[in-house]
Each structure stands twice: as structure tokens, then as C-alpha cells.
């Protein structure tokens, strides 16, 4: 008779074949070693396209400029020109289709990101006009007195 010693080997071979078949079915065909070699570039190539296709939400002020020149012009001549529209108005995404209206963040917590007074020596932060949010008209919205688009002028 043929040696019984080899029987377990056949079992192993069958398991291995099953794994290889499963591998063939499950692993995407474009999975492999890409530009950065095996250590850093072993992946599914099409995943790069998945990431490239990710939805852009922040469109930057260029996107706002043409439809809202009445807002764009004054802010661009103010100190707040360094702030993107979307920082306060929220990401445009596909506005005006989706969302048709952007929700403006008028909260104090938005303004005090820069204007809470932190007078640390030799920091840019210390040069920004600041308030103590606990004491300076606590509970009121900043925009009741200050126009964020014309920050130099008090009131409206």
C-alpha cells in the first residue's frame, strides 16, 4: 500500500487550494505592489481614485465672489479679508442647489477663537484686539454691536 504517512499532507494541500481559490475570488485584481515598492506601496491601486473622488465641501471665497459681490467687496477691504467666507458661513458644498441656504455661525464662540484675550508675550495672538469673554457683554451675540464684514467700525 502507499504510505499512510502522507495522508495529512493531502489534507494540507486541500486546505491550501481552498485558501488560494478564496484569495482569487476575494482579492481585487488591481491589488499589488505599486510605485513605492512592497514595503510602502502594497495596496489596491483603485483606492487612490476612491480618495480623489471624495467630495469637496469647502469651495473657498472664489466660489462666493461672483454671486455675492455686495458681501465680497466690503469684506475684502476690511481686516477680516484674511478670513474665508466659509469659516463663518459653513462649507458651501453645492450651494445654492445643496444646501440652498447656508447657516451662518453668529455665535460668540466663533469670534472668541481669535478675540478672546490671550496676551502671551511675543505671539501674534497678543496683537489681536481681545476681550475677556466672561466680562465683555456676556451672553450677547457679538454681531449685535460689531459688523463682522466691517470690523473697524463699531455698530452698523
Amino acid at each position: 500500500m502507499s504510505s499512510h504517512v502522507l495522508r495529512p499532507l493531502w489534507v494540507v494541500i486541500i486546505i491550501v487550494i481552498l485558501i488560494l481559490v478564496a484569495r482569487f475570488v476575494i482579492v481585487p485584481p488591481d491589488f499589488g505592489i505599486q510605485e513605492r515598492g512592497f514595503m510602502y506601496g502594497y495596496h489596491r491601486k483603485s483606492n487612490e481614485d476612491d480618495w480623489k473622488a471624495f467630495k469637496v465641501k469647502y469651495k473657498t471665497r472664489k466660489y462666493c465672489k461672483d454671486c455675492h459681490p455686495d458681501k465680497y467687496e466690503p469684506i475684502m477691504s476690511s481686516k477680516h479679508r484674511i478670513i474665508q467666507c466659509e469659516n463663518c458661513h459653513g462649507p458651501a458644498v453645492d450651494h445654492p442647489e445643496d444646501p440652498p441656504k447656508l447657516v451662518v455661525d453668529k455665535s460668540r464662540s466663533l469670534c472668541i477663537r481669535c478675540h478672546a484675550r490671550l496676551l502671551y508675550p511675543r505671539t501674534e495672538r497678543a496683537k489681536i484686539k481681545g476681550i475677556d469673554p466672561e466680562e465683555h457683554n456676556a451672553g450677547m451675540e457679538c454681531s449685535m454691536c460689531h459688523n463682522p464684514h466691517k470690523p473697524d467700525m463699531e455698530g452698523w
Binding site: L6, I15, F38, H43, R44, N47, D50, I82, E86, E124
Partner: protein
């Protein structure tokens, strides 16, 4: 016995080894091929942070979370801002409340109120993935779910990650975490979807002070490249040999 014991054992070993080695694992590029592939690309994304300019407003963190769909209130973030205060008594205190998402608005730091008069020096340090040239996080991924693109950005394949967390452990900078919704490893992508459309990253766009910049390190005329080539810049934790590609101006030795 039709086969010697030695042969039997050898073949068992060979098959056991070969079975676990998919053939594609052997398709390793020759060094020349690999170099050609890298040199063929004309882009290597790099980042420049000017810590002198950062005021700790946290708009970058907010924009990043909304742009990249990281749940806004989840206690993790792709990018964050740290505040360091070196006190006159020599102590160092640092914090990053909510990753700096809502900015720094209080004198309170590490559960104590530090008056500015007691501060010797202070700085805000934005952090993000360093997109290392030798990313240890990629090296340790057991299944090839995270990788570096030809233009140097490290990405995660959300359909392939098994969520073992080894990459999170391997990153010396703590930039990785589990996505609170998809339950796979998550990290800064340098806004790969934006930079490939000629846009800046969401954090660069949101920064009012120009503290963050992104550029192509292979383009000698790129402002970022020019600064890195001509100014004194530093990287974080270079002792790990990761070769980070996020450069810092004004990096203090206290920055961790």
C-alpha cells in the same frame, strides 16, 4: 513507503510555506524599476507650518473635520493645534482642548489658570500627518490596507482595513485613530481629493494667518519648497528615522 521521510518533511514544509505566500508577494520591483517609477512622478507633496503665525483660532481643525467627514463631536481629529507655555519658573505646560477645534479662549491650561505675566514664551503648534518618507504605520500594516502614493501621501483603504490598530501604535506622532463611523484606521490625507484638483487643503484654506501651507517639494519654484530650501526649518521627532515631510518654522525644543 514510496517517499523518504526526509522528502516528506521537506515537501510538507515547502507547501506550508508556499501556501501562505500568495504569488503576488514576489512581484517586488527591482530598485531600478522602483526609482524610475518614483522619478517619473513630478510631485511630492510637502507641508510647511509657521508656528510664529499661528494664533490658535482652530479654524483649520473645524474645516478639516467638516471637509473630511470626521464626526464633529467625536474626540478624535485628523489635524489639531497644541498650545505650549513655557513659564518663568521653567515649567512647561501644554494642552489641546478638543484638538483645538473651538480655538483657545481661556487662560486655563492643564487645570490651572496661567496668567500671561508668568509666561516666558508661548506658541501654538498645528499638527497633522507628516506623510513621512519612511512611514512606520505603512510598514506594519499586516494586509496592505494603508500605503504611500507615488506623490508621497499615505492613505488608508477603507474597504480593506481590518482595524487591528497596529498602524495607530506605530505612528510616533499620534496622527492616526479609528474612524468613529467606519471603524477603520483614519488619518490626514493632505486632502488628497483637493490637492489633486489644484486646490489647497481645507486647513490651509481655512487658516486666516498663513500659518499653514502646502506645496510640491519637487517643484523648485513652489513657495513652500523655496522656504524649506532657504529658511531654517525643522521636523518633528526626527530621531525615529521617519523623514517627516511637514516642516516647521520656529519649532521650539519644548514641542513634543
Amino acid at each position: 513507503m514510496s517517499i523518504s521521510r526526509r522528502d516528506f518533511l521537506l515537501s510538507t514544509l515547502k507547501i506550508a510555506a508556499a501556501s501562505a505566500l500568495p504569488l503576488s508577494a514576489f512581484k517586488i520591483l527591482s530598485p531600478a524599476e522602483a526609482r524610475a517609477a518614483i522619478e517619473a512622478t513630478s510631485v511630492r507633496w510637502g507641508f510647511l507650518v509657521d508656528t510664529y503665525k499661528c494664533v490658535g483660532c482652530g479654524f483649520c481643525v473645524k474645516a478639516c473635520k467638516l471637509e473630511n467627514e470626521v464626526p464633529y463631536d467625536a474626540p478624535v481629529t485628523r489635524t489639531w493645534v497644541e498650545r505650549y507655555l513655557i513659564l518663568k519658573d521653567g515649567r512647561m505646560v501644554a494642552d489641546t482642548p478638543l484638538g483645538g477645534r473651538d480655538g483657545f479662549t481661556k487662560l486655563e491650561i492643564q487645570e490651572e489658570i496661567v496668567e500671561p505675566k508668568d509666561v516666558s514664551k508661548a506658541f501654538f503648534v498645528p499638527k497633522l500627518c507628516n506623510q513621512c518618507e519612511n512611514p512606520p504605520c505603512v510598514q506594519v500594516c499586516p494586509v496592505g490596507a494603508t500605503y504611500q502614493t507615488a506623490d508621497g501621501v499615505v492613505l488608508v483603504d477603507r474597504t480593506w482595513c481590518i482595524g487591528c490598530g497596529y498602524c495607530i501604535m506605530a505612528c510616533p506622532y499620534g496622527v492616526r485613530f479609528f474612524h468613529p463611523v467606519y471603524k477603520v484606521a483614519e488619518k490626514c490625507t493632505f486632502c488628497y481629493h483637493r490637492i489633486n484638483k489644484g486646490m489647497k487643503t481645507a486647513c490651509v484654506g481655512a487658516c486666516p494667518f498663513g500659518a499653514r501651507q502646502i506645496g510640491n517639494l519637487k517643484d523648485p519654484n513652489d513657495p513652500v519648497t523655496k522656504t524649506i530650501m532657504t529658511e531654517r526649518v525643522a521636523v518633528l521627532k526626527d530621531e525615529y528615522g521617519t523623514k517627516p515631510q511637514v516642516y516647521y518654522i520656529g519649532l521650539d525644543e519644548n514641542v513634543r
